[in-house]
């Protein structure tokens, strides 16, 4: 064993900080999950407890007895997130392919242009976006939230970087000699090679879309179209004012799918962040 060249006290300090931060990360969710099983009276007596109680089902009934419909929210969020993720990864890879494989006159200007629009903040153009969608009668239509992700400049940028380092152009040339059409080559040769990058980008795109509140909130006004984050914002309303158990229950239900996805894919997610593959 190599002798450590830092003092013991320092090491204790390092671990103490790490453990403290771990508690900080987990504690709010732990309280949330435990309180989801406790009745409102129990929570009013002591709001912190680590012993689950037996009111899981009654909390769920109170929650769904009012305007909160977790199944509907889950389904709506799923449709939007899957749709926009599919659009984003497929068309970003395609745009990156155009930038990497073909030499055309506007290639460099187009890439510069993509770099320039990467920083456009989405919320500051929301008024014009809303007015436009309203005029073409697409409010309360999921397509208004799905189709815009076809143009995802950040993702194009990272797909391009990945493609430059991993896609051998010889493969495409030999496919051409074998008579493969460009479109076919892209779908059957390039997409499989890009799988690792597509997987990473898909995770982040999905999570971003799933968590998005601003645009769905202004576009979706019908109750049956609400996404998960809009459902969550209902918990803030007066109808749940004193139903503490039900509020924690609702929060838990929205977090649960994300927890499952995160702990299954955490390895890839952390690696993806390290690659710089997420928008801050």
């Amino acid at each position: 064993m190599k002798k450590l060249n830092v003092s013991r006290g320092f090491l204790v300090f390092v671990y103490a900080v790490c453990i403290l931060l771990t508690i900080l990360s987990i504690m709010p969710f732990l309280i949330m999950v435990v309180n989801a099983t406790r009745s409102t009276t129990e929570i009013q007596q002591h709001a912190i407890s680590f012993l689950p109680s037996t009111h899981l089902l009654s909390n769920f009934q109170i929650l769904t007895g009012k305007s909160f419909n977790p199944a509907r929210g889950f389904l709506n969020s799923m449709i939007i997130s899957v749709g926009s993720t599919a659009c984003a990864v497929y068309f970003s890879t395609m745009t990156a392919y155009a930038l990497v494989v073909y030499s055309w006159r506007l290639r460099q200007p187009f890439f510069t242009f993509i770099m320039a629009i990467m920083m456009i903040p989405s919320q500051v153009v929301s008024i014009g976006f809303y007015q436009f969608i309203y005029q073409i009668h697409m409010t309360n239509n999921f397509l208004a939230l799905i189709l815009p992700s076809i143009a995802a400049p950040t993702m194009v940028f990272f797909m391009r970087q990945y493609m430059l380092s991993t896609l051998p152009l010889d493969i495409i040339n030999s496919a051409r000699i074998d008579g493969s059409k460009e479109w076919y080559s892209f779908n059957h040769i390039v997409l499989p090679i890009m799988k690792p990058a597509i997987a990473t980008q898909a995770i982040f795109s999905f999570v971003n879309s799933w968590n998005n509140l601003f645009l769905p909130l202004i576009l979706l006004t019908k109750q049956e179209k609400y996404t998960m984050p809009i459902m969550v914002s209902l918990l803030k309303g007066d109808i749940y004012k004193t139903e503490y158990g039900a509020i924690y229950m609702g929060l838990t239900l929205t977090v649960l799918p994300l927890f499952i996805v995160y702990f299954l894919l955490s390895k890839y997610i952390i690696a993806g962040v390290a690659l710089g593959g997420v928008k801050g």
Binding site: Q45, I117, I218, A274
Partner: protein, 327 residues
């Protein structure tokens, strides 16, 4: 022949870019132009789409800039962003130095990274309401804690206090993002040549000196990236201030510009024109700040160094060529 071959494929470059360009024009470019135009008009009222240009085209902008609520919102946004960013970048730097250090290996690193990053993927709306409940009055978990340990005799209404309300918003942002920043910084440090650190070690540099003179200067680009993205994200802060406290807290203590824009356009009197003007002001502020940050953090010595390197290389080549001619 070869050239002709290349030319015949060029059209696919255009073809494969069409979906991106068309979507961008419809869903981003057109809304941008539209937002700019609305800013100069009298468009307001729910469901209204018709508008007229104002006689004084800058009326909305003047009104927004002189509105006390907008000034408060702008101030709050910067304040809460700063309160979250400074501790965030410091903690992330310290953790990154520990986790990527050569002096000692933190056991369970993988676990810590996963746990620290976790809050980032949770829906911000959920996090906001969860913290609202944690700091609830009279019987939230926080109040349970302070009364049980006798810090306060009676439950305290945290969200009625300006400082607490802002502090909690800033804390949530910090809590959600330090793990992300840490991982980005770690990957930046791991990308540095280990030889630099070995050389410094031979010269007897301490861990602190290595961090100060090797790690930090070489992280410059990544730090700029983090700063700019955090700034752009922070100036658009919406979910958390919107949902943490009702009506943006006491005296609009947690009102941010994004919440202000939302309230102008989609609540009350639906003033799309003023919301557009406020959006454009934010757009300009973000653009200027990004430019300033890039300019300030631009490495002058590196630019000079690169020039110097090029010059040396050119001379070396010249010398080599001369040598080749001589032999």
């Amino acid at each position: 022949m070869k050239k002709k071959n290349k030319l015949s494929y060029a059209k696919y470059g255009y073809l494969f870019s069409i979906p991106f360009v068309v979507t961008f024009c419809i869903f981003t470019l057109y809304p941008v132009i539209y937002t700019v135009i609305i800013g100069f008009t009298d468009l307001k009222g729910i469901g209204m789409t018709k508008f007229h240009f104002l006689e004084n085209p800058f009326q909305n902008f003047q009104q927004i800039l002189s509105a006390p609520t907008f000034q408060t919102a702008l101030g709050n946004t910067f304040l809460m962003w700063g309160m979250n960013f400074l501790p965030q970048i410091l903690l992330a730097l310290v953790l990154a130095a520990w986790f990527s250090g050569t002096l000692f290996k933190v056991k369970g690193q993988g676990f810590f990274k996963v746990v620290f990053y976790m809050p980032n993927i949770i829906t911000a709306a959920t996090v906001a309401i969860l913290f609202g409940a944690l700091f609830g009055y009279p019987m939230g978990p926080m109040n349970d804690l302070v009364t049980r340990f006798g810090i306060c005799d009676a439950p305290y209404e945290f969200m009625r206090n300006k400082g607490w309300a802002r502090g909690v918003v800033a804390f949530i942002q910090f809590w959600m993002w330090y793990g992300y920043t840490m991982i980005v910084l770690i990957s930046g440090i791991l990308g540095m040549s280990p030889e630099w650190f070995e050389a410094a070690e031979i010269d007897g540099a301490s861990g602190w000196q290595k961090f100060l003179y090797i790690t930090l200067p070489n992280l410059r680009t990544i730090l700029i990236y983090t700063l700019v993205t955090s700034l752009i994200g922070g100036l658009q802060m919406f979910d958390i201030p919107k949902l943490l406290v009702n009506k943006s807290g006491p005296n609009n203590a947690t009102l941010t510009t994004s919440v202000f824009i939302y309230n102008q356009a989609f609540e009350g009197s639906y003033m799309y024109n003023r919301a557009s003007a406020a959006s454009m002001i934010m757009f300009v502020i973000i653009a200027i700040l990004s430019a300033v940050v890039f300019f300030l953090m631009r490495d002058k010595s590196e630019v000079a160094e690169r020039k110097e390197l090029k010059r040396v290389e050119r001379e070396r080549r010249k010398a080599l060529r001369a040598e080749g001619r001589n032999s």
